[in-house]
Symmetry: D2
């Protein structure tokens, strides 16, 4: 039976962390005001504002990431204004045209590692010079990205300065923000992100919550009437406390980062095992998503015992797979993976072909 | 403190019924496939199909009612096609233009009790005769309605025949479907509704679930690619099993109807107490929403001990209030309400002015 | 053959006034810049600005009225903001949901004569008090209205003050603005309208032009990036000079008002003939649209010689017809109509039944 | 004064061909039915049906190309369905997000010459495999393309077969269809296009008309209620005869092709002069748009006497310019251009650098 395999498929297979379940159960025994105006949501909002060091930010809790993205973008932009995103960005390719369905074009930019930079943005902005083309207005970045990479302080700062100079909004999709912040080399804090962006969201679903994302609108000019747009787009839950209670538990202490750190540690164990066997990782990820090109035979054997996604086909008989860890990934699961992987790597020696495949696909990853 | 008062404010103040919490906790300990393809959602879907006696229906679970309505209507209609709804219908006035935001006009029809009939529809349809006006295409009904009234078998059958004759879709918003089916005089079954409508949804949020609604698409012509539209509109939860596990618990046995029956019994106790005191209820509701016009002084005193919504102002010093019961409304709460109400009614005797107000507003209820 | 009949069907059956044809022919012999940046459009824009006494207004020329309305409203409003309009307003019922297709709800208000007033707006605005309902934002009026009635100076001023006090935009659809301004009792000038509204348009199609409407955006806050929205909605003509050249000719001297005055004079001749025969006009129109309820037999006989629209059925064997005059309506055509009408009125004497019908339908005209 | 220069800027600078002006003047003297139901529009529709050999096609006349594209796509697609287009396609980059504003994503495909092929489409279609991504549904091609290239019979046939096999609609934007059909090497006829596509439009604006495009819907499954969508999107002109009368004149005899042939002959004269001077044209155009990379000094000198668009910057001191001819381009104008060009080419000899620039940019033209 498929689920008996150990899963590295994604970070949203498990229900929720026990402390969040407990918080939910407790909240469920009280009566609450509806539509996100309950005491748990208000407290969670306050806790997040304290964490980012801003008392003028607005925090809204929504059920899922696509919902957050489409609601925010619909609220922030005028009809002719467009989003700038990496081609690998979630809004660009994996939301079934949710942004376009609100009327806005997403201008997709090829970039080697899923990360935008001012120099990648400049030519697109310059190309769009008059009213016969959309007006680029909102820069969408993910942190960590869909390829597991992260923005450093200087990188995000450069983007932020660029955006403010050019009259662009900077919006950060934090579906996996925990994984970015918990990475060992990370030098970005939540207050930095709040300072550098106009809005961002903190992902709960992929970091221990049953469901829920916390949108933080830092730019006061974008805050007006936001609850109207949430309601209009179907994102206002009658029992909003379901979301609030979980974020209250995540941010009352360090649970949010603790859960992400656990995932990160397990991911690096996976990565180090793979590179020790002579393989080169596909993207420079140090977060909870790890990508590697493996010979097809090896992929098939791994799949007998583990679940994971195949990410892209490599021409020469290899496939890039994605291995994802989460707050729920156990030491034992990773131990077992490492043991299997080492054995298979030995059998498949030498991994030269796969290595070559890894390299020749560095330039193709933007098509994934 | 406000919440210390006993609440008849709405049917979504409580977390969830203990059996649903238990089902959620259990599901949360397993790994599940994502996006509604987990085993709980599949089983819940199968249970609902069995209950309605149809194996060709499609069942989808979404987080909230506005989300269901906007997704279904966006998926079913072409751009120039419009919705026909009672002016009191949820899509007409209480979804912040969610339907219009998908591009479709809602044609609002005045009706005395929140219920549509063929004879109310005919003039609107005949008025819309050419391409300079929208084409009426989908008839939206709520059961029970926003005024607590219900459709009987013959009434829904008549609408169904009318719609099929005229090439209209019939869509039933069942946010409070439990309360309609559990009413003592109800003669409609779920299989009847599945037979008579093109699509309908079964409300969980207002009948014991933490969140979740089950959309049933009965008409095969409307089923194609529906998951694409769910995703596009932000309604596809990564952890869809949160919804599926609850509906599995609601429909594994009679829990869904049992919860609704409890609410219904309490509502009738409230109603009977009020009418025994000489007041006339505002709408002919026998479900979990009860409306009555009371003198303002009485409203103020009731509000010291109970929470409820004021529904509409009556000119002559009276106000219509709404009292809502739920699966969680205790005998004690209703006992206390009844005791208070009788005492206040005696103090405020004679209620003649309020009675008159009740009557003169029978014709105004469509503006609520 | 149908067209041999004399037409009072509408004001857009003829091609264009000879002086506009001449202007077009001359412009067509030159090379012009594209997309509305040609010298004719620029001059026409300047002439209109002079006529309204504002050098900070933006003028844009579009092909038709629905195009203007949907483009302006899409550009002016945020997604959750709604339009307030008379139920008879063009955007409400006769544009196939064009406004809703841009995502905005139109809140329809019953009003006896097609004209909005502050007191008609207040209850709708007060009903819309929170984020579960749309936010009323733009008041749409037509002048002259779809029923031929007009706003006086004081009426529009009252609306304007009301809108500014309440944070609402006031938008005036001037498809038949000429007919309003040319009416004998009119006390509103173009500068008044520019002062009182946030935007309005001056209709060319129904006042002598081959096609074209001039949108004037008076409120600078609404002017930004408007050309982007025109292009996005398909309204930017490559050969924009076709529109500009006509408006240049209309506003170089008094041609615009002269054409409208001609229509008005003919309309009053028609009206006076009808009332002299003992009939009561249906709406208090003194513009180029005249409505009257006539016995069906009389309608049938008139239709043998004249073209016109039947507007609404009256129960008692009568029908309301609409008679429209234009710049092209000849003295002879009206003479012939008057002669026929008097004869028919004598045959059908006494007109008591029709008169009664006229009266009992004063309250129904909002359903037209 | 700018316009005294001879213009090769575009094919929509002139008013209209005299025979169309005459047709318009004549039609303008009659009374006509409104909204495209006039006798000229009906006759023009019939003439086009005869020309394509189909009596089951629907023909609609609209004012401009963006209007046609957005109306057709809005009418043909369900919300989650997407357009496939060359990155240079008009809908992709030059309509200010008009398609996205109707809710649909445009999937942009890099292609060397502005033309799509099955092998370019396959990877995009295969990448879009589930409900987390849009469903590719309509293939948009332009003929001639934005780079002046054309589809041959076999090329369009291959696309047509591919689309029908894969359940895709094939839609052809014929803003410059005349220029494609009039090219000397063309082997496609209007009946072929009607047979191979689901819908296409015949451009009038860029081929002698004052304004107007004729949309032909060949696939009966796409014809239903199309006039509703025209009206909703603002494209229905009250005086539709303005469009019909011009197309009647274009298709009563061979005027449509005659005008295009004239432009084509002049374009080839321009092209041959340029290549004779040793330059390589940028795209393989044999239609009325010619592209060539020239040294900047030469561009500046040409611009002193002629108007044209600069298309893209070439790094090495060269710029690609676009030269466009039309039905109105005179022999004298081209003579003068050729004389100037030869002289400048001699002065700037040798053109080696520009030649090299031409070549190294063959691969970049998709960014134009």
């Amino acid at each position: 039976m498929a689920l008996a395999r150990i899963s590295f498929r994604n970070d949203y297979s498990e229900g929720a962390h026990p402390r969040l379940l407990e918080a939910l159960a407790q909240a469920g025994r009280e009566q609450s005001a509806g539509y996100g105006l309950d005491r748990h949501s208000l407290r969670a909002s306050k806790l997040i504002c304290e964490r980012i060091g801003r008392d003028d930010a607005d925090v809204h809790f929504l059920a899922g990431g696509t919902q957050v993205n489409l609601t925010a973008i619909a609220a922030f932009l005028r009809p002719h204004e467009a989003v700038l995103a990496a081609r690998t960005g979630h809004v660009a390719t994996h939301e079934t045209g949710a942004i376009e369905a609100t009327g806005h074009k997403v201008l997709e930019i090829d970039c080697p590692d899923g990360k935008l930079t001012p120099s990648l943005l400049v030519p697109v902005i310059e190309e769009h010079g008059d009213e016969h083309m959309v007006r680029p207005r909102l820069v969408y970045v993910s942190n960590s990205t869909e390829l597991g990479t992260r923005y450093g302080f200087d990188e995000l700062k450069a983007l932020s300065i660029f955006c403010r100079t050019r009259g662009l909004y900077l919006y950060l999709d934090g579906a996996r923000l925990g994984s970015a912040l918990a990475a060992s080399g990370n030098d970005l804090g939540l207050p930095d992100i709040a300072e550098m962006t106009d809005a961002f969201y903190i992902g709960g679903t992929k970091n221990g919550a049953r469901l829920g994302e916390a949108l933080v609108i830092c730019n006061p000019a974008l805050q007006g009437d936001f609850r109207y747009v949430i309601k209009q787009r179907g994102g206002m839950l009658a029992k909003g406390m379901v979301l609030g209670a979980q974020f209250e538990a995540l941010f009352r202490d360090d649970l949010f980062l603790d859960l992400a750190r656990h995932a990160s540690v397990q991911a690096l164990r996976v990565r180090d095992c793979i590179t020790a066997a002579g393989f080169t990782m596909f993207s420079g990820s140090d977060t909870n998503q790890q990508f590697v090109a493996l010979p097809d035979a090896m992929v098939a054997k791994l799949a007998g015992r583990f679940e994971f996604e195949t990410w892209a086909r490599v021409d020469s008989g290899s496939t890039i797979i994605r291995l994802v860890t989460s707050w729920a990934t156990s030491d034992d699961a990773v131990d077992e993976f490492m043991e299997h992987f080492r054995r298979l790597a030995d059998e498949c020696a030498p991994p030269a072909a796969a290595l070559a495949a890894s390299r020749q696909n560095q330039g193709k990853q933007e098509c994934c």
